[in-house]
């Protein structure tokens, strides 16, 4: 039953461009990008118990590095992508050393402060980042000579990257290391007493999350062919965090569902009203007050309840 559902879902995902219009294909690509970003944040929030409010840093910095290298210095997309991802991962390692001096709310405040610093830099260093104008006129890469300019080809590209990311992060979370991460989340002192190094476990997770955050940033800049400081803003971090928490942090599929919902909400709401930030704030209040464990765990609870009732 489970396998049939998975196969159906996979077929639906792969075949989507054959029956959907360009608008929906593009929407699906955006959902994939948001999903991989939310999944990487979920490693920190859900499995590690480290609530980061600065995860947009990794998306934004990877996007900026790639944009600058390809547009200003004329690099090819391949080397630019390598530099961008490794640079972002190195930044995550550095930020991790700073932020992981604290836990809990201190961690949250430090990640927020660090990301605000980057956001300020992107705005103010206008001779490098072009400031509020952003960097426009970017191109998409051509892996193996295949153009990604059509909506469908980019969708498949994003789908492949997302599936690889989903698998890699699932393996990470369900591995022995993932178990020790959950142990550190719940009982850091017991884990330390058992001979684990909580700090190192958190740090490695932080870097890994930064890596996938950077990957989503590359997809983001390829998709939009444009980058603006808002992608580094707290709003951007908060949207991802809302997706993770709304979907259900610490579950495998929750962040994907949550990210998709936030993105759809944003797309449809902005067609009718301009007040996205206010709506985002209200949704935050609603989710936290009404559905604190998230949609996926909530639905699962409901489903098991129904099964038991019908039996």
């Amino acid at each position: 039953m489970k396998w049939i559902a998975a196969a159906l879902l996979a077929a639906l995902l792969v075949l989507l461009p054959f029956f959907a219009g360009d608008f929906y294909i593009n929407l699906a690509s955006q959902i994939l990008i948001a999903a991989i970003f939310a999944l990487s944040l979920n490693l920190l929030v859900g499995y590690g118990g480290m609530t980061s409010l600065g995860h947009a840093s990794y998306l934004g910095v990877a996007a900026y590095i790639s944009a600058l290298l390809t547009s200003r210095y004329g690099w090819g997309h391949g080397p630019a992508a390598v530099i961008s991802i490794s640079g972002t991962t190195a930044m995550a390692a550095f930020f991790g050393v700073i932020a992981l001096r604290a836990t809990g709310l201190g961690f949250l405040m430090i990640t927020l402060a660090l990301s605000q610093v980057l956001w300020g830099l992107a705005y103010r260093m206008s001779n490098v980042t072009n400031g509020d104008n952003g960097i426009a006129g970017l191109t998409r890469p051509m892996p193996f000579g295949i153009s990604l300019d059509s909506a469908a080809s980019f969708y498949w590209f994003a789908l492949v990257v997302t599936l690889v990311g989903f698998l890699m992060m699932t393996i990470f979370a369900s591995s022995a290391f993932g178990s020790s991460l959950k142990g550190v989340r719940d009982q850091p002192r017991r884990m330390a007493a058992l001979g684990f190094n909580p700090w190192m476990i958190r740090w490695i997770t932080f870097i890994y999350a930064g890596f996938w955050g950077g990957t989503s940033g590359l997809l983001y800049v390829y998709y939009n062919k444009y980058i603006h400081p808002t992608s580094l803003s707290t709003t951007s971090s908060a949207e991802a965090l809302l997706g993770v928490i709304a979907g259900g942090s610490g579950t495998l599929s929750g962040p994907v569902v949550g990210a998709a919902l936030v993105l759809l909400l944003k797309n449809y709401a902005s067609a009718y009203i301009e007040r996205w930030n206010m709506l985002l704030g209200l949704v935050f209040l609603f989710i936290v007050l009404v559905m604190p464990t998230g949609i996926v765990p909530g639905l699962r609870k409901l489903a098991t309840g129904l099964c038991r009732g019908s039996r």
């Binding site: 609530t51 409010l53 700073i98 001096r101 604290a102 809990g104 709310l105 201190g106 949250l108 405040m109 430090i110 927020l112 402060a113 660090l114 605000q116 610093v117 956001w119 300020g120 830099l121 103010r124 260093m125 001779n127 803003s233 707290t234 709003t235 908060a238 965090l241 809302l242 928490i245 007040r275 930030n277 206010m278 985002l280 704030g281 209200l282 949704v283 935050f284 209040l285 936290v288 007050l289 604190p292």
Partner: protein, 288 residues
């Protein structure tokens, strides 16, 4: 020479503003274990209230305005605390998230009500003429602002250290459960301290208006400064907030004047140093 001295004064006045912002943040954090991310928005709300009042009524006293705006913002903060935050007592992460959500709501509401253009706030007329000290010319308002912050610090110090209320707050900071057990109404204290912190931020917003003017994004500019001050000075410590505010005031002002593009990086260097060598902050206690 003139440059250094004028920038020095600017640093002091920014430091004073930062103290008005971060002292409330630090108090709230110390007592409630709550990172109140709405704090920048409270500050901005105060600035907008002040701008509207001062521009529509000529000759309105800025101190009265600051008091009024402070009370208004404190009321909004109190409502928020009573209606939302108290429901999330057992969920510290949820509390932070709703304060973040609230900050989005407030800043977007300000954008809706006051538009996207920045609104300058007039400097009070009796403080417009410059002051001459030792042959140097200073903008009087900034000097007064520094005095204000120092005054607020002294009042807060006495409130916390010399009154019964302050003793109860300190007891709540040190050990919430024991404080409850000896009959201190900690929940009411929470509301009170939240109102107090929000009110100081709102009043600070009015006083900062003539220097910063009211614009959308003011909250996002001020909140990280407050966070850095509090991380630097030590969470929950009034002295830490005071010293940290002036350190950041100096670093940010000179950084912006000397290396405008790198000001943000320079700003976070001291924070890194402090976190690396003294994670609890300069004046924080271990485990805060």
């Amino acid at each position: 020479m003139q440059f250094w001295i004028i920038q020095g004064l600017n640093s002091l006045s920014l430091g004073g503003l930062l103290f008005l912002l971060s002292s409330g943040f630090s108090l709230i954090f110390g007592l409630m274990r709550l990172a109140n991310l709405t704090h920048g928005a409270f500050f901005m709300l105060g600035t907008y209230f002040g701008a509207t009042a001062l521009r529509s009524y000529d000759g309105l006293n800025i101190w009265v305005t600051a008091l009024g705006a402070g009370i208004a913002v404190a009321a909004i903060g109190g409502l928020f605390e009573r209606l939302v935050l108290t429901r999330l007592k057992t969920n510290p992460l949820g509390q932070v998230l709703v304060t973040l959500g609230m900050s989005f709501i407030i800043s977007d509401a300000c954008l809706l009500l006051w538009g996207g253009d920045s609104i300058p706030v007039p400097t009070p007329q009796n403080l417009q003429s410059p002051t001459r000290v030792l042959g140097f010319v200073f903008p009087t308002y900034r000097l007064v602002l520094v005095g204000c912050a120092v005054g607020a610090a002294i009042v807060l110090y006495f409130l916390l250290e010399r009154t019964r209320l302050g003793a109860m707050i300190r007891a709540g900071v040190d050990d919430r459960q024991m404080a409850r057990a000896v009959g201190i109404p900690v929940s009411n204290l929470f509301t009170l301290v939240f109102c107090l912190g929000a009110g100081i931020a709102g009043a600070g917003g009015v006083l900062g208006g003539p220097i910063l003017s009211a614009y959308p994004g003011l909250d996002a500019d001020m909140l990280p400064l407050a966070l850095i001050v509090v991380i630097l000075g030590g969470i929950g410590s009034l002295l830490g907030a005071f010293i940290g505010s002036f350190i950041i005031g100096f670093i940010y002002t000179y950084g912006t004047a000397l290396f405008p593009e790198l000001a943000y990086i320079i700003l976070f260097l001291p924070m890194i140093f402090v976190i690396a060598f003294r994670p609890q902050g300069l004046f924080g206690r271990v485990g805060a």
